[in-house]
């Protein structure tokens, strides 16, 4: 159980984390989602007592992190897989961590086995690929067999095999009743992994809800209509109060109206419809809408390239 209350971190004038309050519960994977620079890493560093909050507080199992009796047995964290001394072998790296919490050498070998690094245990980690470094970081997090696991963007830069491995691992850790808190800037990574989502943008809490509610509550139903007269249909639907956008040529996306009403309006205006169907809002879209105002750097993405209209086509 991780609890943040009014957690705030300022760097000069800008607030990296701004009055965040949330509770992360055991037995599930909680996704921590937000665009780059939203304050996810900073929040995790404050949970671990690495950075001090400017205001507010965060506790782990009811205590500040630094007060945990045997931190490795309660929390395992992977913030930056490359943050190891490259001159040290994988086994010695884990051993020096294990010693602080009186964890046995046998356990070091057991986790090396578990993450599939047993055959390179004596090699210096400088030569490791990102995937291997990530596995070493996860081995370190698992050393104390902790109840709470914190992963910061664990699949960043991994190959598909590594991504699947980490997803499966997170699911199985949660299935064992553990608390898994994992950040990402891509919602697609959460789609099949997280049970619960905490969404942040510019340091502020944007959403804190179950995955299913997040999708359902985001922007309601979308109806897709294929027509030879998209402009006319768009005008007619806008007049009825709907929001429309054009995607592929001849396809109108409609929000705020059910497909029955769309059909009626089309009929009333003498517009031919070739196809009419409800569509599930993609998670991607829900996330984009939620964080649209809080993205620091916009890039080209399929959703960005579809201009939304609220009125007639220019």
């Amino acid at each position: 159980m991780i609890e943040a209350r009014g957690l705030t971190k300022r760097y000069g004038a800008t607030a990296a984390v701004d009055d965040l309050s949330f509770t992360i519960r055991p037995g599930m994977v909680t996704g921590f989602l937000g665009p780059n620079g939203a304050g996810k890493t900073t929040t995790m560093r404050m949970i671990l007592g690495l950075d001090y909050p400017t205001a507010g507080m965060v506790t782990v199992n009811g205590k500040p992190y630094a007060k945990l009796a045997s931190p490795m047995r309660e929390v395992g964290a992977l913030l930056d897989a490359r943050a190891v001394h490259g001159g040290r072998s994988a086994r010695n790296h884990l051993l020096c961590l294990a010693r602080t919490n009186h964890i046995s050498r046998r356990r070091v070998d057991a986790v090396l086995d578990l993450v599939g690094l047993a055959n390179v245990a004596g090699k210096r980690s400088r030569g490791f690929s990102l995937g291997m470094s990530q596995r070493l970081g996860i081995a370190a997090a698992l050393l104390g067999d902790p109840e709470i696991l914190i992963f910061d963007e664990p699949v960043n830069g991994l190959d598909p095999e590594g991504i699947v491995w980490i997803r499966t691992l997170m699911r199985s850790l949660a299935a064992e009743g553990r608390t898994v808190f994992v950040s990402s800037h891509l919602i697609s990574e959460m789609e099949n992994t997280a049970d619960h989502l905490i969404v942040v943008g510019r340091g502020r809490l944007l959403a804190d809800s179950g995955m299913a509610e997040f999708i359902a509550g985001s922007s309601g139903q979308v109806v897709l209509a294929r027509t030879p007269q998209p402009d006319a249909l768009g005008r007619a639907l806008n007049a009825a109060g709907a929001t429309t956008s054009t995607g592929e040529p001849g396809i109108v996306q409609v929000r705020g109206l059910t497909e029955d009403v769309v059909a009626d309006i089309a009929f009333a205006n003498g517009i031919r419809l070739n196809h009419l169907a409800p569509a599930r809002v993609s998670l991607e879209q829900a996330f984009m809408e939620l964080t649209a105002d809080s993205v620091d750097y916009h890039g080209q993405s399929p959703v960005d390239t579809q201009p939304a209209h609220n009125g007639s086509e220019a």
Binding site: P71, H85, G86, L97, T100, H102, A110
Partner: protein, 281 residues
């Protein structure tokens, strides 16, 4: 999964927990220092350079011995000749090791991992300093004794060598090693303050050489009276010698000068500790 983790239960009593933390972290820091090659390279350079320079000095003296005046013979301090290199070269070599003990954790990012597994910052910092001090003291003592033995062997042919039973000879060998270890600890403190290897080593140089060089520009009387309080530089003479300094009798004895340097090291380590506790990692 739980079965192989180890038997120690988290202690609930604060004093017992502190003891558990300290013992575990000392063991951890020992694993760290012995598991990177940089440690061995630094210590090998320390040993080879120190013993080599002491041996060279003694060999040259032994070679020139017949051509020196009786006055020169009387002033010659064979102990100092054999261990001076340990102090003069050792201080900078050990400064690299001392600073790196902490700065390498910042440059690699390892510090965040270290603090995640041991969030008691004073314990982590203290264990680092203690392991560094112990390792450097043991290596410096061995080097100092080896330099002494080799140097005296080279001087033995001229009957100019010293033995450990002569006055202050043992002191000189031990204090020289202590000086090197204290330099390492001072560099560690500077490393904690500056968090950057090159900056910390440069700061050691400023502290141990530059300040003294600049002070030499002061009026002679003023300089002679304050020299005993300056770290490094001229006090290395007093630290390695078996006789009082001939040029500046106001200098403290070897132990006194070591204590002065120790005080500087303590200040640096304490300032480093305060910052280490207070700053974001």
């Amino acid at each position: 999964m739980t079965t192989t983790i180890g038997r120690v239960r988290p202690d609930t009593q604060p004093t017992a927990r502190l003891r558990t933390d300290i013992l575990g972290t000392l063991a951890s820091e020992f694993v760290k220092i012995r598991s990177v090659r940089a440690t061995y390279w630094t210590l090998i350079i320390l040993i080879v350079a120190s013993i080599g320079s002491g041996a060279t000095y003694c060999a040259v003296e032994a070679h020139q011995w017949p051509h020196l005046t009786p006055q020169d013979h009387a002033n010659f301090d064979p102990t100092q000749a054999s261990v001076l290199g340990v102090a003069l070269l050792g201080q900078f070599v050990i400064a690299v090791l001392g600073a790196q003990t902490i700065t390498a954790e910042y440059s690699t990012g390892m510090m965040r991992t270290s603090l995640t597994v041991m969030p008691r910052r004073t314990v982590l910092y203290g264990a680092k300093a203690a392991v560094l001090a112990a390792v450097t003291l043991i290596v410096a003592l061995s080097t100092s004794f080896a330099s002494f033995v080799l140097g005296q062997a080279l001087l033995a042919g001229r009957h100019a060598g010293a033995t450990l039973s002569q006055p202050h000879v043992l002191r000189s060998v031990i204090v020289t090693a202590g000086y090197v270890a204290v330099c390492g600890v001072a560099a560690f403190g500077l490393g904690a303050i500056l968090r950057h290897t090159a900056a910390a080593v440069a700061a050691v140089f400023v502290l141990f050489e530059l300040i003294q060089r600049l002070a030499e520009a002061l009026p002679h009387n003023l300089y002679t009276s304050m020299e005993k309080w300056l770290p490094g530089g001229a006090t290395v003479g007093a630290i390695t010698a078996t006789t009082p300094d001939s040029q500046n009798p106001q200098l403290f004895s070897a132990w006194g000068e070591l204590a002065v340097l120790g005080a500087y090291a303590v200040i640096l380590v304490v300032v480093g500790a305060v910052l280490f506790r207070r700053r974001d990692a």
